[in-house]
Amino acid sequence: MVAVPASSRDRSGSRLLWSRFKRDRLAVASGVFLALLVAAIVVGPPIAERVLGHGPNDLFPYAVDTYLKPVGPLSRVPDLNTSVSNDEYDLGTAPPGTPKTLLILGGDGPLGRDMFERLLVGGRISLEVAFGASLLAVLIGLVLGGLAGFLGGMVDGAIGRLTDFIMAFPLLLLLILLGNTVGNRITFVTLHGALQPGVFSLILLIGIFAWFYPARIVRAEVSALKQREFVESARMVGAGEWRILRTHIFPHVMPVLLAYSSFLVASVILIEAGLSFLNVGIRLPTASWGTLLTNAWGTYRNPQPYDPQRMSIWVTVFPTLAILVTAVAWTLFGEGLRRALAPRSR
């Protein structure tokens, strides 16, 4: 028996994938950015709160001018959560000697809260929804698509029609309608405090109606794979159906699905932002990137194009950029994965 050299044994499977993936510098950069982002929103908020000395929900009445236009980045504003002056019209100046605090990215809107901390806290909500809903959609898609592709025949037909059915349902309308039904009952399911209120219902509702695309991908992959020689030879040596699925088919499906989930995360971030804009159905009690975006762009009853007198440009720029950059990063990351998986595609 010839010993296989370690280097060539290592260049298989995930190693090969990684060596191809790392050639795509944009995708690697996106991966690093996303890792930093996740780290920042997980450990960031308490640290920021400790260092800056105020929380994401603290109001700074002196961080806005008389038009309620908030201050820009790197402003030091009087650290007062309530006005000490007895004159309710005297909002112009803070009493002398008030300690000042730093708003790194300025105020978030007419209430003058800290944009930076709210972006961190909101990012956590947005990514929780995006991860959770994508995971749920991919899991349902994996099971249903796998069944349809592997069993074929009647099961395939039934699942195919179910997919058509879900596809034809207008997702946004459904979210609005269901938000008032199921949403209210499960808003306060937080999985023992692991999630913020409202996040779970969003995950459930988006996940249940976003699985049809992953299901299609899995079905196509599985039905192509099950005709390959290695599956036939596995069956010939007596492997059971479950074993074939588990050890010969799913390992090939997973990377494709992983690349797709990355795109899915990007789109769920956008869906969540849109729901906040519609301001109907599910309302998150806490800040998310979507609600920050509505600070800038208004809601559907009152859409507001940028108005320099009333709104600081930064209020518009930061949440928009946060969503944009994160969505682009997820897409580039997924694109890099996809290209590493199919090196022939250019």
Binding site: A168, L171, F263, G274, Y306
Partner: protein, 362 residues
């Protein structure tokens, strides 16, 4: 299986899907804590409705019947072209029946407006996508290819409502372009003055119609351009490797002729598939576009139906779900049938045309 049987079977399944879709909407509405009598009467949600009044209202709109009876009645109406009467703003005369907004009458202009946005947007989209994809595919990996890929990626990652409001913010600087609104093609009953007339004419006519829809079309195209360019570019690269392209080149056809006469024709199939598959996504984008640009189409109508402080307007909602369902299922059916006509293998059981396209839905 022959083609006729295939078309018949698929159409029958489509109708079953539509029935399921609308019944599900009826059922979901029944689950919501909405009070139909409250939707009709309006008023302070804190003050209870007198029992006799509630009885009259419930009887007039039929919600005192069991859900299945209500549904069957609705289906009977739809078969006769009557989608019912909207609950919001309904007035009830115990002797002569009910008077209110006819859902059918409200849906028709709204559907036409939505179609104007989508069809115009699709045409603009193809006008943008085809040259970009053709140029990128003929020079894969060039700076043009990479730059457009990144720019389009930013386009798809920006929420359509942000794109729309951004364009409107720019419109404040460029007043010569209308911010939105809708101008009908045909002269309306009473003349509506346009804020931005083309050559001083009032707001109707094809030129005004297109001019007012320009920003909505751009918003639509910006969102979908990335997906279309990617699919078309990948297909074109594959097609350009085919032997018949080499033959065309050997015959002395110019590069432009090879691309536009020979390659593009065969690369349009996945585009057709994707248009059908992304129809659901287009509905969501349409909703944002209509809100931002103040176009009274299906999206606006649905938000109106959902916006009642006291409750949702079921006849309106069901009609909108039905129309959107017809659009999406019908488009998929049409594409399937077209494929079956072109390629008879499609009409065999177990074939899924969608496996041709692997790509993200945004």
């Amino acid at each position: 299986m022959n083609l006729g049987a295939y078309i018949f079977r698929r159409t029958a399944i489509a109708i079953v899907l539509l029935v399921g879709l609308t019944f599900l909407t009826f059922w979901l509405y029944d689950l919501t804590p909405m009070d139909p009598a409250r939707v009709v009467l309006g008023g302070d949600p804190g003050r209870p409705i007198p029992a006799d009044q509630r009885k009259i209202v419930d009887h007039a709109i039929g919600v005192d019947q069991p859900l299945t009876t209500q549904y069957v009645d609705w289906v009977k109406g739809v078969v006769h072209g009557d989608l019912g009467t909207a609950w919001q703003g309904l007035s009830i005369d115990p002797d002569n029946g009910i008077f209110g907004t006819s859902v059918t009458a409200a849906m028709m202009p709204a559907t036409w407006r939505s179609l104007s946005v989508v069809i115009g947007g699709l045409i603009l989209l193809l006008a943008i996508v085809i040259p970009i994809a053709a140029y990128s595919a003929s020079r894969p990996g060039s700076w043009f290819d990479r730059l457009t890929a990144i720019l389009l990626l930013i386009g798809i990652s920006t929420h359509p409502l942000v794109v729309g409001l951004l364009l409107q913010s720019l419109q404040r600087q460029w007043h010569w372009i209308p911010w939105g609104g809708y101008c009908p093609i045909h002269r309306p009953g009473e003349e509506v003055a346009s804020a931005f007339p083309v050559s001083g004419s009032p707001c109707y006519g094809a030129a005004n119609w297109a001019w007012h829809l320009l920003l909505p079309w751009i918003t639509f195209a910006v969102f979908f351009a990335a997906l279309y360019v990617r699919v078309l570019r990948t297909t074109l690269i594959d097609v350009l490797d085919e032997p018949y392209i080499a033959t065309a080149r050997a015959k002395g056809a110019s590069e432009n002729r090879v691309m536009f006469r020979h390659a593009l024709r065969n690369a349009m199939r996945p585009i057709l598939t994707m248009t059908a598959m992304e129809a659901g996504m287009a509905v969501s984008v349409l909703l944002y576009i209509e809100v931002v640009y103040g176009i009274g189409g299906l999206g606006r109508l649905s938000l109106q139906a959902f916006s009642g402080e006291v409750g949702y307007d079921r006849p309106m909602i069901v009609a909108i779900v039905l129309f959107i369902g017809i659009a999406i299922i019908g488009l998929n059916l049409l594409v399937d049938i077209l494929y079956a006509v072109v390629d008879p293998r499609v009409a065999t059981p177990g074939h899924d045309r969608r496996q041709l396209v692997v790509g993200p839905a945004a």
